[in-house]
Structures are given as C-alpha cells and as structure tokens.
C-alpha cells in the first residue's frame, strides 16, 4: 500500500486477516503527544487490544509524516519525529518501537522527510534539505524486531521525487526515483540501480508520483505518472514522455478572451501606411514589396499546395478557421496562467505565477488589452504578461478588491476600477465620459449606482424587500449590437423595441418567492418588477439580458393547496420590452428630439416604462447558467445558451422558439405564421436534440459559458469552463456567408475554362461568317 499521509492529521487505518487497526494521534498541545493504536476484531467489531506509544510529533507540523505500510500481512506504523532526524516504526500488534536515525551527510538541515511504503517490510524515506535530496531504504525484520538501513541513494542537488511500488509478482518491492533529468529503478535490497533512463529536463516541479514496474526477461520497464506542483499530470515511460493531461484546468477561477496578432509586423506596417499621405504610403508599400521579393520563390512553390487544398475538401482545409484563428482564451487559477488557442483547443502556453502571499484564498481578475494580459490578485499583486507567449512583463502591487470593473479610459483603453466587498469603487483618474456610470452590488444586500468621474458618488441604491437577498445582477453584454430597432409585424407595422444600454436585471429571493426587477442603471428607476411565489430557492436560478429581452429560470414549487398559484416544475420565463403596446407608436418619447435619463420628458420625471410581453415555459431540466450567443453585427438570430447540470449538457435554444408573442389558446393567423414565424403556444418546452451543442458529451461542472463574435457574421464562438472545458462554434442561421464544404470549386473552374476555350475557338469562326455575310449582301 503506498500511503504517504503527510497531507492530513495522522489518523491511519490498516487491516490484517483477523484485526483492523485504527491509529489515532492524541492532539496534545504540549510536547509529548501520544499515538494510540486500537485493534478491532475483524469479525465482531469489538475492541481486542489497545496500546499507546509516546511520540514526539507536533500535531500541526505539516512536515510530519505518519502512515502505514506493509500490506495485509504485516502492517506497520511509521512516523518521523519533529526534529526530522529519527524514523520510528511500530509493527502493529506489538508494542515495541523501532527507530533509526537519518544519516545526514549533506551538511544542511533536513527540511522534509516523506516515507513511501509497499506491501512488503521495506520502505524508502525521501529526504530533502534546502538544496539537496537523497533517500534511504530501510528494512524491518519482524522476527528479530529490528529496523536496519539497507542502503542510501546518493545525495544529489536536483531534488528528486521517489515512489515505491510492488512488482508484477506482488512480492517484490521496487523504488523509483524521478529526477530532473533521469528515471532510476532500485530494488529493495541493493543500491545498484536496476535500470536508468534519461529524461528530458523540462524544469517541472514534481509534487508526487506513482509507478508501475514490468519485468520482461532480463530488463525492466517503468511507467511513472507524476503530478507537478502546478497541477499537471504526466506519464513517463522509460524516461520518454508518453502523455500529458491538463488537470489544472479544473481549478480555473477566471477567464478572458484575447485576440493575438500572429503577424504583428504586418499589422504595424499597415498601421503606418494608414496614417501617411497617399504618395508616402504608396512609396512605403512599394518598398515593402521589394523587401519581400526574395520570398517570391518560396511563395510560388507553396502555390500548388494551396490551390490543391482548396479543391480537395479534407479535414485540414477548414477555411473558416481563418476568421477566428487568432482568438485565445486566457485562464487563471491559483497555480498559473494558461492560454488556449480557441480554434484547435490546444494549450498555447502556460506559465506559473511568481510567488505571492497565499495565506488566504484571493480573488483574481483578468483583463486583456493591447497584447498584454493583466492578472490582478486581490490584495497581493498585479502581474502583466505578454499575450503571445506568456512572458512576464511587469509586476506591481494590487489593492484589495472583491471584483474589478473595466471602464473606458481617456486614451481609448480600459481602466480597472477596484470594487470592494461593500460595493465601493476605488477613486481613480483617467476615465472618459463614457465610463462615468457604474453599478456595483454590495454582497447580497443591495445594488448601488455610482458616478465615478471625479470621485465616486453614490447616486442611488436599490434594496430588495425585507428578508430578501440578491441572487444575481446582470446587465447587457459589452458587445450587444442590435440589427433592427423594431419588430416588423405581419401587417407591415412595426413594434418599436425598448433599447436602452443602461439596464440592470436584479433577481432576489425571499423565503420562497423570487422577485425579478429591471432597473434603469442611471437613475435607479424600477422599470419592471414581478414576483413569483412558491419558488424552490435551493434549485439554481439563472438570468440573462440582451437587446430588448431578458430570460430567467427557476424551479416553481407551489404547495398542493388549490389557492396556491403556479405550476410545479422548472420554469423558463422570457420577457420582451417594447416602447409602446401599439405598433407604429414610439410611446411617450415619440415627439421628443432629445432625451436625458434624469429629465426624460417635460410631462414626467421618471423614464418611460417599457411595455413588457412575457411568456413562461416549463423545461424538463433545471438550468444553472444562461448566456447568449454573439455575432459581429447582431444580424444573425441569437441562441439562448443554457447549461443543464443534471445531464451535463450545453444547449442553445433558438430565440424564435422563445418568442413571447406566440398566440395562446388559438392557432396563429396566416399573417402571423408566415411573416413573423409564430406558432401556437405550448407550455412545455421540450429540448430538441438538435439544440444540444455538446452532443453526447458529458460536460461536467460548468461555471460559465462565454460567447464571442467572429469576423464572420454567421458564426459565433462558445466556450464553457468550470470543471470540464468545452469549446465550439455556432451558426444559428446556418452559415450564410461562407461557401459550404459541398461547393464544387473544380466544376466551377472547369466551366469557366470550358467557356473560355469555347469562346476562343468560336470567335474567329463567327467573325469570319460576319465578314463573309457582309460581302454576300453586296
């Protein structure tokens, strides 16, 4: 049994055929804690023996190593005393304590001792000092009750990780040493290595390892799977790296999109040309092309290959990837920063964070701008990295914060505003007029609106009712273009959408009621509010707002009383906002030429309230996160992205299904059906299998689903992270701006060539006939 239990308090468990041993450490605060071993009869569960051992082990000392080895036949308890100089062993069942002093010839103090055991009576103690490391192998002789050192692995300055394993015959013990540049196999009896394989020195800091030894005739083969300090999992077979699993992606805390310029020089040259006069720019361009002439030969050579890939549509000829080839997702966790190339899903680079104070868990915030990624760590530091390769550019301090808001600054960049736990934003200069207004949330108590240009001034605050707490506040996504300002109805009239960039949707719950409030973010006016009684507050509640509509989901749980309203089930509510209930009417603002949130009209002091149309649907499963797809100009219809935790799936519900104007209790008129695409309302919204973006995959534990537009209007990117990582691209209205794979370029070219040949052949004949015809007429 390999059991290095140095992570926990030292309570151990072992079992022989007749007895179960339970070992407890008496947590004495003063020196001289005791270890108590209790033997429990395996059949009856009654205590059969008990004895205590004096042990000088500091309870809270993390480097103390206590555990059990020896398998089922002769389990023994080992511990290292708090001075880290002596290893003590007790064969469970007897009261004798055997001990041996560690042979420290390194000249430094021992910092850490870890013991690795197998099913046999041999074990290995891995010893580390400040800069050196070695190991000692010990053997317990049961009959004579002695503990002796068999051999020592020599001292080296690269601190290696050891592990112990039982061989294929289950009777031999082997010890494996994983060093920075080699893997060595030792037997339990002699220090002569049974096998040594060189390893590529990749500078990985190994945390722990497990090994498997296979013997074939005379030679050994070793597979070692080790976990690094940064949470990555590798397997090395005979010294060669076999595979790698990025398990640290399950601990990601925050992510951000990044656009990476692969050909940075070209972009810069184009920028220079753009800013000069026509003649200078032309000369600059000619000079650039002359400079590129030496590459002409290479380019001509690659031409046939490029043409061929265009004609033959194979897996490598995905031309649409050009539209988002340079999109990266940057992910930050406690262990480091990772960049994933979106189009392939490969990790482009990974970097560890420089040391900072990790005494408590700290919130992180990422922002990407101008080729640099800035990671703010609450109260500790802010690190700036290059987005192309992850090199650290700068470090500086960071104030304490609960979240960071990115506000447009004066120089057309984004300025970070640190918001405290109480919702108070930091004072900062260099904000443009655009970024003046900010909403923050004070824990789950209230939502506060600020004006932050000169000095943060609180303009308004919104508190949900008594006994309620805020679940979530969402606002429209930063990139939310609206393609049409109104909805065209069947009879060619227009219902004007209520489009305001300053909307905040607050969901709050009281004991069993859910209240959804739509606020105007500048003045804090409540534009719309609704309450759903009898809501199960332990089920996930999610919400999203985009364009002129918002959606939220919850689990309605009315009691069986006939007076209790509502249906029992998972609800998805969709609400659209319009300026007026009548078509072709702009509502109260119709006659106005100008508008201000503070004095909207001469007749009223509050902003005009929108006309809302809602519909509710019952879904088969709860939804834990809602999001919306995004495209470059907002022309493509949107998908409502929902994560279903019960089936671990990601679906995209088309907005045309969730149209709140669907006719209730009647069939749609021909105009409604044809022009607007409405169909009859049915309360149960079954998830069509075609909506499943994750197909048959099990995407576990998604915390957030992010969407991003691409250069193509028809396509948007979707990235889900949390425990699993999933990325895909969606074309909600089919890929209308890209030639499909079935497009026959070969036949097009053949047709053009055939026509050219035909014209070339027939033209002289036609001319000749025309000329002859003129002669004949004469």
């Amino acid at each position: 049994m390999t059991n290095s239990a140095s992570d926990y308090d030292a309570i151990a468990l072992a079992s022989t055929e007749s007895t179960v041993y339970y070992v407890a450490k008496n947590p004495a605060v003063l020196k001289g804690s005791k270890i108590r071993v209790t033997g429990i009869d395996s059949k009856s569960g009654q205590e059969s023996k008990q004895y205590t051992l004096a042990a000088d082990v500091d309870y809270f000392d993390e480097s103390a190593s206590v555990g059990v080895g020896g398998g089922h036949d002769h389990p023994f308890l080992f511990w290292v005393d708090s001075s880290l100089k002596t290893i003590k062993v007790n064969v469970l069942g007897s009261t004798k304590v055997l001990q041996q002093t560690v042979d420290n010839k390194s000249g430094e103090d021992i910092k850490n001792v870890k013991v690795h055991t197998t099913n046999g009576l041999e074990f290995l103690a891995q010893i580390e000092t400040t800069s050196k490391g070695w190991a000692e192998v010990y053997n317990i002789d049961d009959t004579s009750s002695t503990l002796s050192r068999v051999y020592s692995v020599p001292i080296t300055s690269d601190q290696a990780v050891f592990t112990a394993t039982t061989g294929p015959s289950q009777s031999e013990s082997f010890f494996v040493r994983v060093g920075q540049s080699d893997v060595t196999l030792f037997s339990a009896s002699s220090s002569k290595a049974l096998g040594a394989w060189p390893r590529e020195n990749d500078g990985l800091q190994i945390s722990h390892a497990v090994a498997e030894v296979v013997r074939s005739s005379n030679a050994f083969a070793v597979r070692v799977a080790f976990v690094t300090d940064s949470g990555e999992w590798f397997l090395v077979r005979n010294g060669k790296m076999a595979w790698y699993r990025p398990e640290m992606l399950t601990d990601v805390e925050t992510t951000a999109w990044a656009d990476v310029e692969s050909d940075g020089d070209l972009a810069q040259e184009l920028e220079i040309e753009r800013h000069k006069s026509i003649i200078t720019a032309y000369i600059h361009r000619v000079k650039r092309h002359i400079r590129e002439l030496p590459n002409l030969g290479k380019w001509l050579q690659s031409l046939p290959q490029t043409i061929l890939t265009n004609f033959v549509s194979g897996p490598g000829s995905d031309k649409t990837s050009l539209a988002f080839a340079q999109k990266y997702v940057i992910m930050a966790s406690d262990h480091g920063l990772y960049a994933m190339r979106f189009s392939t899903g490969q990790l482009q680079w990974r970097t560890t964070l420089p040391p900072y104070d990790r005494k408590r868990p700290r919130r992180k915030s990422l922002s990407v701008e101008g080729g640099q990624v800035t990671l703010h760590i609450d109260g500790a530091a802010a690190f700036v990295f290059d987005v192309n390769d992850g090199q650290r550019i700068a470090s500086r301090g960071s104030p304490e914060f609960h979240s960071v808001a990115q506000i447009p600054g004066l120089a057309a960049d984004l300025v970070p505003i640190f918001v405290s736990r109480e919702g108070q934003p930091d004072r900062i200069s260099g904000i443009s007029m655009e970024g003046d207004f900010l909403i923050t949330q004070q824990e789950d108590q209230k939502v506060i609106g600020w004006s932050i240009l000169e000095e943060p001034k609180s303009l308004w605050s919104f508190t949900p009712g008594k006994g309620s707490k805020i679940v979530n506040t969402v606002s429209r996504p930063a990139h939310d273009p609206v393609a049409s300002i109104g909805k065209v109805l069947g009879n060619r009239s227009v219902l004007y959408k209520y489009l305001s960039p300053n909307l905040a949707l607050v969901t709050s719950i009281s004991e069993d009621a859910l209240t959804v409030t739509l606020l105007d973010a500048i003045t804090g006016t409540i534009l719309y509010s609704t309450t759903h009684p009898s809501v199960d507050t332990s089920s996930p509640i999610s919400s999203v707002i985009s364009e002129n509509w918002f959606a939220y989901s919850f689990f309605g749980n009315p009691s069986s009383q006939p007076s209790s309203p509502g249906a029992k089930g998972h609800h998805l509510i969709i609400t659209e906002l319009y300026e007026s209930p009548y078509p072709n009417d702009r509502g109260p603002l119709g006659a106005q030429t100008n508008y201000s949130a503070f004095s909207p009209s001469p007749f009223s002091s509050s902003p005009p309230l929108p006309h809302t149309i809602s519909q509710a649907f019952l879904t088969p499963q709860p939804i834990s996160h809602l999001s919306v797809t995004q495209t470059a100009q907002g022309i493509t219809s949107r998908l409502l992205l929902a994560y279903l935790p019960h089936t671990s799936a990601l679906i995209g519900i088309p907005r045309t299904i969730l149209d709140p104007r669907r006719p209730v209790s009647r069939d749609p008129t021909s105009l409604e059906a044809q022009e607007e695409g409405l169909f009859r309302y049915a309360p149960f919204l079954d998830f069509d299998p075609k909506w499943y973006l994750s197909h048959s995959r099990e995407v576990l534990g998604v915390q957030e689903v992010m969407a991003r537009p691409t250069m193509l209007e028809s396509t948007g990117l979707v990235f889900a992270w949390g425990h699993d990582v999933f990325g895909t691209r969606v074309s909600p209205s089919m890929a209308f701006d890209v030639l499909g794979k079935g497009f026959n370029r070969a036949s097009l070219v053949a047709t053009v060539v055939a026509l050219t040949v035909g014209v070339a052949v027939l033209a002289p004949m036609v001319r000749k006939r025309q000329v002859e015809g003129r002669w004949k007429m004469l």
Partner: protein, 186 residues
C-alpha cells in the same frame, strides 16, 4: 398561386426548427477536455481491473469529487464518475482498490465502482455524516470475501466494516474516548 402559397407556408413552418450545427461537423469543430481534477497522492494508483490479465489502469480521485480511470498507454479517459452533486464545493475523497472494483469514500458515503467500466456496484446506505479519513481493503478471509473498512470523522472517529459484495455495514466501532477537534484546513 394556391400551390405556391401552400409550399411557402410549408417552408416557413419549418423555419422555427433551425439547426445551428451541421451533423458532419460534430466532433470536428468542437473540443472537450474531460478532466478528473488534480490527482491526490493518497488516491492515485495503478490497479489491474481483471486479475487474469496484466493490463493495469491508472485510477485517481480529486478534490472536485470526480473519480476516474485513465488508460496509461495514451492518457485517454476510460471512465469517470462524480461523487457529489455540487462540484464547486471541494472536499477530500479516498480511493481503495478491490477485486474488480474501486471503492471511494467521500462526503456522500462509500461507493463501489466497477474497475473496468465505472458502473456503480453498490452504494452504502447508512448515512455517513462528516468527512472521510480513509478507506482500506481487508484481506481475503476464510469465507473468500474481501470487505472494506472505512474511517470517517464525525463527532467521534468511526470505523465501519462494509461488506465487499453488497455494501451493507457489518459493524461500526466508535472511538468514544476522544471527541474530534476540527482539523485546521489549510
């Protein structure tokens, strides 16, 4: 004209059901990392799912409450299961190899999973309160059955022996001499 408008109505009626993914692009334009979580040193080992064949799989459990088996040849996941419902609340889990099964002890109890394909074999019924500390296999006894012993830290330390075939708790031993202090979690 009637035929035309009928045909148009048919086409428009199909409109709401737009697809956004082409079937021939599935699994080509998307990617998925099916992760287990950072492996814990006390819960990672090589184990043979079938004693007859020497092939071994690499089993691990993480603090995210996911247990899984990985093929040591290429690192691909063979199976994985979740131990508790909310993966964001991390807590420690323990793993023990058995005969053709692996047994997990987590905050939702003790469960046995088939070692080859990860199917549930049994889940121990008795409500285990508190945090798991360890789970260990007992050797084959006279009746040729291997059982499991699990140690949980409730208000006292409790040792339970669980039948290896059915998951029933055979006996329970409570260490009533000491009540447990909460462990400082770093």
């Amino acid at each position: 004209m009637r035929l035309f408008s009928a045909a148009l109505a048919l086409v428009v009626a199909y409109l709401p059901y737009v697809h956004s993914i082409f079937s021939d692009e599935a699994y080509q334009i998307d990617y998925h990392y099916a992760l287990i979580g950072v492996p814990r040193s006390h819960a990672t080992f090589f184990h043979r799912p079938q004693t007859a064949s020497p092939a071994a799989l690499l089993y691990t459990a993480s603090r995210n409450g996911v247990v899984g088996a990985v093929n040591p040849k290429d690192g691909s996941g063979v199976w994985r299961q979740t131990l508790f419902h909310n993966l964001t609340e991390k807590s420690e889990s323990f793993l023990a190899p058995g005969d053709g099964v692996v047994v997990t002890a987590s905050r939702s109890g003790v469960t046995a999973w088939d070692a080859l394909d990860g199917r549930l074999v049994w889940h121990s019924d008795e409500t285990f309160k508190g945090e798991p500390q360890n789970v260990v296999k007992t050797p084959r006894d006279a009746s040729q059955s291997t059982d499991f012993v699990a140690l949980f830290r409730e208000s006292h330390n409790v040792v339970r022996k669980i039948d290896g075939k059915t998951g029933n708790v055979l006996w329970k031993y409570t260490d009533s001499k000491y009540t447990c202090n909460p462990i400082p979690i770093s």
